[in-house]
Symmetry: C2
Subunit: 341 residues, 2 copies
DNA sequence: CTGAAAGCGCTTACAG
DNA sequence: CTGAAAGCGCTTACAG
């Protein structure tokens, strides 16, 4: 077992100073060709690599990005991480991932943990509980300390920082409008409780679409699901009891649950009931019938967020730059769960 | 913007030495009650938190774990990360995630990047390309430097280290035996190319089950898929051309693709054709019909891997401990894609 | 009870 | 051309 070699050891072996070794390895013209060669050869032989931690301390930057997300087993968040990773790696950054598990406390703890020097900046999406409590002090604190934060998807207006979002309201509006254009007008909505920012925005888009088409908004056709565990039952009841010809669901889990409930009831999809989901994930693609969804390009969102963060980290002119909100475009991926007409 | 406060600044403000501040914050009995109080109050006021990087350098350990996996958008790997995260956080560790994208070079680069002091140990699953090349020098190098590695799922016998696996061979055997017990005997296999370790083991289990039941192994009923892009076509052909009454697929993507091909052909599942997949993911659960699978508890695997790594990191007696291979038990989750008899 | 010194592994302005 | 010194932010054995 040969431990990693340090500058100090090389210096000792070669009987020169640490400074000389350091400079030689940087090919500094301060050092004689001869010494440089000797040091470099030795370093190569022993596979010297500078210690990241020492560099971080010295440079006061870690070249690592912290990501805080509610869950990793949600396909959407996994794709976002993937997008962040790509751009981060291209720029020599590493990625630390922390999960809040939708818990405010875990979000706070993780942020504090990482804020103590471990990372240069955050990319994050708020936990449900944080959105409910509307307590963002941990985030403003971090920003106050000069650490940049980029929020994505589940964001809040209460914090000023860079953001990457989609136009949830518009995307929902267009999805519902598409259903209406196909001649459907008894459209149910399966959404989250209102404190989930994106759920609320999508709900608003749904309502707007109905109103613009002079369809009345029927509260019985709107179910707001708080806990995923209740979704089966509530959705089942909706499908069974109400005379509806279409469903707009704000995520793909709700959409596929609706599909299964409809199939169980013997309804034909899309002839008897059409369904549109949100977030173009793996479930929508492989469901039978496959599900028409509003695509939400997680890779792109993650990539964009990483780009914005890195730009801010590497720009010299501190924070005189204005904060930006990037809107990633969405589009409807039409599949089997909606009629083609 | 108030930057994070350091010991030095507190010392200066309070007109004492840095040592005194440091000791006071640790509530050392070396320091007078009075001074301690004063320092602690001040530190609290300014929300002092020790800098992680400095601690890492000093202690020569970072309290962070590096995870290297082929992909994060595969549900299984996402669950493993989740499992690692949990146990890591409980023990005060952070998690850096790097993706190899199934590429040998990316795997090597990422490992080297992290090995330079950023982390205390690795948890990893081999990329396809690495398994194909059988080149593991980057891993043995890291281990040689005294950095522990725990491999999971896609492992190799060429490297001695702790491992967490399932008994792929046995699990496959049992799955196929279950099909046979249900009276099915024209069982096709959809698997990966042989160099993917887990694919090969599952293939072997399939063959063993056939042989033990005196069924002949028909090469026409075995398709080995190299690239996921070809899977549609190959599976379609298999389902269309061959008279089979069951399919065993070594992952859930192959399984759901088989389901869709069978449905397209007008076959009833499970009456005309039964299907068992591998990896109990989200697709299997939400497919219509839902898919019977061999469950592979990623959370548990990740948790176990983290536990083993942390134990090794925190045991004093270096490496006189033997390396262990933990086998996580699997079981068959029976759903709609297999007959109930 | 307090503080100076050494050290973790590096870089770089400065002296010689 | 080479090296000693200071410093990144901390801890701790040691001196006073």
């Amino acid at each position: 077992m040969k431990r990693k070699v340090t500058l100090k050891q090389i210096a000792k072996e070669l009987d020169v100073s640490i400074s000389t070794v350091s400079k030689s390895l940087k090919d500094s013209s301060e050092i004689s060709e001869d010494t440089r060669q000797k040091v470099q050869a030795f370093a190569k032989l022993y596979n010297y690599k500078p210690n990241n931690i020492a560099l971080s301390l010295k440079n006061r930057k870690t070249k690592t990005i912290g990501i805080i997300i509610p869950e990793i087993v949600h396909h959407f968040f996994a794709t976002v991480i993937s997008g962040v990773e790509n751009v981060a790696n291209e720029n020599g950054y590493n990625v630390i991932v922390c999960l809040s598990d939708e818990s405010f406390d875990k979000e706070v703890i993780n942020m504090e943990m990482l804020a103590n020097g471990s990372i240069d900046g955050f990319i994050m999406s708020l936990s449900k509980e944080t959105q409910q409590k509307k307590d963002f002090h941990h985030i403003s604190e971090v920003i106050n300390q000069g650490m940049p934060v980029v929020m994505f998807d589940r964001v809040t207006n209460d914090i000023l920082c860079d953001k990457v979002i989609i136009d949830d309201n518009l995307a929902a509006f267009q999805a519902v409008q598409t259903l209406i254009d196909k001649g459907l007008n008894k459209i149910a909505l399966i959404t989250t409780v209102d404190y989930v920012s994106v759920g609320k925005l999508r709900t608003d888009g749904y309502i707007k679409a109905l109103q613009m088409n002079d369809l009345k908004v029927n509260e019985n056709l709107i179910i707001k699901i708080e806990d995923i565990d209740q979704s089966d039952e509530l959705i089942e009841k909706l499908i069974e009891s109400e005379k509806i010809d279409a469903v707009f669901a704000v995520n793909e889990l709700f959409a596929v649950t609706a599909i299964k409930a409809a199939l169980r009831k013997g309804l034909r999809i899309p002839e008897d009931i059409a369904i549109i989901g949100f977030t173009d994930g793996i479930i929508s693609k492989y469901s039978t019938p496959s599900i028409t969804t509003v695509s939400q390009n997680g890779i792109k969102m993650g990539g964009k967020a990483a780009k914005m963060l890195i730009e801010r980290l590497e720009s010299d002119d501190e924070d005189d730059e204005q904060y930006r909100t990037e809107v990633i475009e969405t589009h409807l991926v039409e599949r089997e769960s909606t009629p083609t007409l």
